[in-house]
Symmetry: C2
Subunit: 330 residues, 2 copies
């Protein structure tokens, strides 16, 4: 895990710097509301400025395929808005208190407010997509959003289940992360020839899978100070991700390690000590290494897809997003 990953993202975004500034403006314009409480929450959400990773891949895909449509900026903003709406509902469903180092909507206001606010943001995104007068992005993004809800339901049903397999996990992260990143790349490349468009759709998919595996790894390896959320949170909430799945499947966990995992899963609110014990066992059993290798394999698949696109600064930046997705530290 390399330290200057955040700086690297700034470099990656260089070819689309002006467009990204436009995305920030568009976000403010699109969520604008007369009702004071909604305006207040929107500005809270936009203050916790994300990395705009999804707008970044959309705009780079657009530029890399020769696109020069100013509507790409608005499309990028709606994709970020759909992402934000999902986060607001996810945090509410998960009872999360922190996101990007700031209090979540459910923590700061209420669970009810978070449900309504997520609906508000999502319907604003749809209104904006309709205004662009093109059914194609709507077709892609409504399918993606629906896939994400199925992923959320999978996640809800997957708690506490040591039987959760790598195939189950793949279905989950595909729905939860890869589908929106894949949709973002495809929407950016809508104007391109079918082969390029398809290649970028698959590129986004592989980057998304790798991105989520890296994210799940961070829960095992990083401290709260860096990620903005507590380390070991997934295990605390009995969420089974790839490192644990690999450790359980690999046979290197041993009787003692497996017992530790079972105890944690049977404990409603596992203490930090117990969580750290499982993290150590999973690492010793090669679970982290396995997950890292899978992320790297997906990274290579993503890279191969870029061969379909002509060389350019934007294509180079897309290549760099792969390393960013896999190697970032937050």
């Amino acid at each position: 895990m390399s330290a200057p990953a955040t700086a690297a993202l700034r470099d990656i975004q260089r070819p689309i710097q002006a467009e990204l500034a436009g995305v920030a403006d568009e976000l403010h314009r699109i969520v604008a509301a007369d009702f004071p409480r909604i305006a207040e929450i929107s500005s809270h959400l936009l203050r916790a400025k994300g990395k705009l990773f999804r707008p970044t891949v959309l705009l780079l895909s657009h530029q890399a395929t020769g696109g020069r449509d100013p509507r790409a900026v608005t499309l990028a903003a709606t994709v970020e808005l759909i992402h934000l709406a999902t986060l607001v509902h996810d945090d509410s469903v998960d009872h999360s208190a922190l996101r990007r180092g700031m209090p979540t909507v459910n923590a700061l206001f209420s669970h009810q407010t978070a449900v309504i606010m997520g609906d508000y943001l999502y319907s604003r995104a749809i209104i904006e997509l309709v205004r662009l007068d093109d059914l194609e992005p709507l077709r892609i993004l409504s399918r993606v959003t629906n896939e994400m809800t199925v992923g959320e339901m999978r996640q809800l049903e997957a708690h506490d289940r040591l039987a959760f397999s790598e195939a189950d996990y793949d279905l989950l992260i595909r729905a939860k992360t890869a589908s929106l990143l894949s949709g973002a790349c495809e929407v950016g490349a809508l104007h391109a020839a079918p082969a390029e468009r398809e290649a970028l759709r698959r590129f986004g998919f592989y980057v998304g899978m790798a991105f989520q595996i890296a994210d799940d790894l961070l829960d095992y390896t990083q401290t709260e100070a860096v990620t903005g959320k507590p380390c070991g949170l997934d295990l605390k909430e009995h969420k089974v991700t790839l490192p644990l799945i690999a450790a359980l499947a690999g046979g290197e966990l041993g009787r003692e390690g497996r017992r530790r995992v079972e105890t944690l899963m049977a404990t409603p609110e596992p203490p930090d000590e117990m969580v750290q014990g499982v993290i150590r066992s999973v690492e010793a059993a090669g679970g982290l290494r396995y997950a890292q290798r899978r992320a790297q394999g997906l990274a290579r698949q993503a890279e191969a897809e870029l061969d379909a696109v002509a060389p350019s600064a934007a294509r180079d930046a897309l290549r760099d997003t792969i390393a960013y997705a896999v190697e970032r530290d937050s």
Copy 2:
């Protein structure tokens, strides 16, 4: 309040009987899911068969303006689906346990499940609207859905507020109910001349306002056996609706009545006795009568809009929906 209101709805639906059967089929088709839990909840929701009031006004508006587009059936199903998605989230936000006499999703499964399920239904509706390859219904219905979320936020912020005015109430029920009914009528009449289309949009708006006032009146007048939800529930939850607003504003409530209302609003879980006491005070102060008169005034405005439409069985049925909205007993 007349007893045979439900029978009347069946009569109203006669000109569009075949289409309504199609709506039921479309609903099942559209919500179909591979994931077992989602399929289970969908069939629970569709089992609690609603009155299909929104599809009814959409299809009647379509027929009354000479429309014969088979896509109207699918449009009617998506409008019902948007309504269903809203109910699932509303019940979750309100912690309601019953809806249409059956347990709500949040009660039967969990709060989390309800949040995800509402998102699932809404995004399925959008996918279906995109499939119809026409931006106009999407434009109307995405605006309406967004308005509904603002209405929900208004409602959330309005708890416990004796200062809630009739103007505030109007804004609330416009967003909560009138906007979707208005949108349903407009979508049904999209193919018609602008004057007819606008008249039906306004017709839906007035019917919707009247419908919600009648609904809020039922909370004061009807028993659980008839409506499927407990009587006096709004007051129990400190929801301020028109009868109470009118009683408070009318000056006939007296010091004793006002004190009763204040006590109820200051009691976190008011007992039935206290709720019944306030209901009696509101009735004695003319609050119910005032609300009934407002509903009747809106009904007359709705009726006047139908003059823009040529006479037909569908137009007669639309006229009957006004009486249904105002006089139904559940």
